[in-house]
């Protein structure tokens, strides 16, 4: 039976279809003596050949079926069997398909490559089969399709593809296009791993042609190139986002998107919550805003600007402070203001912009005590107990809107701070 495979097939195929059939089988036989010999050894799947002889008669249009049959046969053989030819089988399929394509006028190169016995050259063909124009792929002189792929894939695929070949071929139920498609699916993955050597290898392996050399892992049509470009752009953005979003060590696009979404929701929620807090008091301060605008201009004018509006209050508070801290605080609250130690303001202002002129003043005198503190707009007449301002520790230094009153001895600051926190 094994012998009959070779003999009968050759004769029947050749006899039925003429030159095309001869061509096909000649190439097949010549290029693949040993693997066929292995396969041709008695295995029940090969019984199919006898049944399948009939379709072989219609060579040109049936070439597609042939390859399907071969594919299924190879697969069966793989499943049933032996380890050693297993690796050779995918190559065989490709070679046969390539030879089938080689029947076409442009197939000389294919045949030549097939004759060289280099399996690497054949892998592109399933990709071309995977496309809708199977007939075209077989018959056309391989203008852009198979040859381009051929060139592209020539180099690095064999190693990767051999590993990939098993699963795609198991999927091949319907025949050549299916494994071709799956392989086409697997190939870009494999291709993505080693683009450079493949491209160079492909260039070296293919005979010189004036065709567009496709990059590894993609066809030459503009759609996939645009796709690839778009995907790269998206990957760039994702990387940039990764730096911004905390906990974004995920490499997966889906989980990255998830993290981003969570973070946006979180920040939006924070804005909402913060706007429900007592920020409203901030709007009450005319001097505050005036100060900021003047600060925007010149910085050192800030103290002067605020002085005019707050001087009276300032003095009043200072007076009160001499007597009793509590009354001073109440007075301030009545005005809707709060106290804050200068240390915080210094920290803030030094961090943001030019140092305050007031920070450098040193002076004695209790009258100026109040001036050493920041007088901020506070919550107005709030019943709760948060009225004394003493922000703990250093908050972030960017709050540049705080005004520092004019100078005071530094020593007073601490004592006032202590007092007001009582």
């Amino acid at each position: 039976m094994s012998g009959s495979l070779n003999g009968n097939s050759a004769s029947s195929g050749g006899g039925a279809t003429g030159a095309g059939g001869d061509d096909f089988f000649d190439q097949m036989l010549s290029s693949l003596p040993s693997p066929w010999a292995d396969l041709a050894n008695p295995k029940s799947p090969w019984d199919l050949t006898t049944g399948a002889n009939a379709p072989r008669s219609g060579e040109d249009c049936g070439g597609y079926d042939e390859s399907a049959l071969l594919a299924s046969r190879l697969r069966q053989h793989q499943i049933s069997g032996s380890g050693s030819p297993a690796g050779a089988k995918p190559m065989m399929l490709h070679q046969m398909l390539m030879s089938a394509a080689g029947r076409a006028p442009g197939g000389g190169a294919g045949a030549g490559a097939g004759g060289a016995g280099d399996p690497s050259g054949f892998f592109p063909l399933p990709l071309s089969l995977g496309r809708d124009d199977v007939e075209g792929a077989f018959k056309s002189p391989n203008g852009t399709g198979a040859e381009g792929l051929f060139n592209g894939y020539g180099g690095g695929l064999p190693g990767a593809a051999q590993a990939n070949n098993q699963p795609p071929f198991h999927h091949a139920q319907q025949g050549a296009p299916m494994p071709a498609q799956n392989f086409g699916g697997a190939a870009p993955n494999a291709g993505a791993q080693a683009p450079a050597p493949a491209a160079s290898g492909g260039g070296a392996a293919a005979p010189p042609r004036q065709r567009v050399r496709a990059r590894r892992g993609q066809a030459t049509d503009p759609h996939s190139i645009a796709e690839r470009l778009r995907r790269e752009r998206i990957a760039e953005r994702m990387k940039a986002l990764q730096e911004l979003v905390p906990n974004a060590n995920k490499t997966d696009k889906a989980s990255m998107l998830d993290e981003i979404i969570d973070y946006v929701k979180f920040l939006q929620l924070q804005v909402k919550v913060l706007s429900m807090s007592r920020l409203g008091g901030a709007a009450a301060v005319a001097p505050l805003v005036a100060n900021m605008s003047s600060e925007g201009q010149g910085g050192s004018n800030g103290a002067g600007g605020s002085d005019s509006s707050l001087t009276v209050t300032e003095q009043q508070v200072a007076k009160l402070m001499e007597e009793d801290m509590g009354s001073a605080m109440q007075y301030l609250q009545g005005k809707g203001l709060c106290l804050m130690p200068i240390s915080l303001a210094s920290a803030i202002s030094s961090a943001t912009c030019h140092p305050r002129a007031s920070a450098s003043h040193l002076g004695g005198g209790p009258a100026a005590a109040a001036a050493h503190h920041l007088i901020l707009p506070g919550p107005q007449a709030q019943p709760n107990s948060n009225n004394h301002v003493n922000p703990d520790g250093p908050s972030s230094p960017n709050l540049s809107g705080l005004t520092a009153q004019s100078a005071m001895a530094n020593g007073n600051a601490d004592s006032h701070k202590d007092a007001s926190s009582a």
Binding site: R230, R233, I234, R237, M238, A240, L241, L244, V245, K253, A254, L257, D258, I260, I261, Y263, V264, K265, L267, Q268, Q270, V271, K272, L274, S275, M276, S277, R278, L279, G280, G281, A282, A283, A284, A286, L288, V289, M292, S293, G296, C338, M340, L344, T352, C353, L376, P377, G378, P379, Q380, N386, V389, P391, S395, S396, N398, L399, S400, G401, L402
Partner: protein, 158 residues
């Protein structure tokens, strides 16, 4: 891509100015009204710091539509075709086919999440994927800055 980190000073200034305009201090405002006004100022401040971003314009258009006030900054309306439908129908079709294939399932998930993101970022409905990610980046930067500013303010006032 806009890479400038938003200056918090400017943000704060704009924020406070906006707050003043809204006249928050009168005690007649309920908590909800006040919250809305503050949030409005916050959004406006954010949007005005980054005027060239798409989300910023979309946000301003949205806000002016909602609040109809003179104090709101003039909005630039952009008439952009909304491409959302295409995504949803594709997703429905893909759902049926992607039962067995892991990559297709992953794509479904990604598409779902992308849609959520579009809803979150102002103006996201009208962007393609690349732009969406760009705008998200920008928006996140601004949001973070705004939250920091507000936090500082709250801390300072307590």
């Amino acid at each position: 891509m806009q890479n400038t980190i938003p200056s918090k000073q400017v943000l704060l200034k704009t924020f406070l100015t906006g707050l003043r305009r809204r006249n928050i201090t009168n005690k007649g405002m309920t908590l909800l009204e006040r919250k809305r006004a503050i949030k409005l100022s916050a959004d406006l401040a954010m949007a005005s710091v980054r005027k060239e971003a798409k989300w910023s314009n979309a946000l301003m258009a949205d806000l002016s539509r909602k609040f109809q006030r003179k104090t709101v900054l003039p909005s630039k309306h952009r008439h952009v075709v909304i491409k959302g439908n295409k995504v949803s129908t594709h997703k429905r079709g893909a759902r049926r086919r992607c039962a067995a294939k892991a990559t297709a399932i992953a794509k479904c998930i990604i598409r779902k999440r992308e849609q959520v993101l579009r809803r979150l970022v102002p103006g996201g409905k009208c962007m393609d994927e690349c732009t969406l990610l760009d705008e998200t980046l920008d928006y996140l930067q601004l949001l973070k800055a705004q939250v920091d500013v507000m936090r500082l303010l709250v801390k300072a006032l307590e």
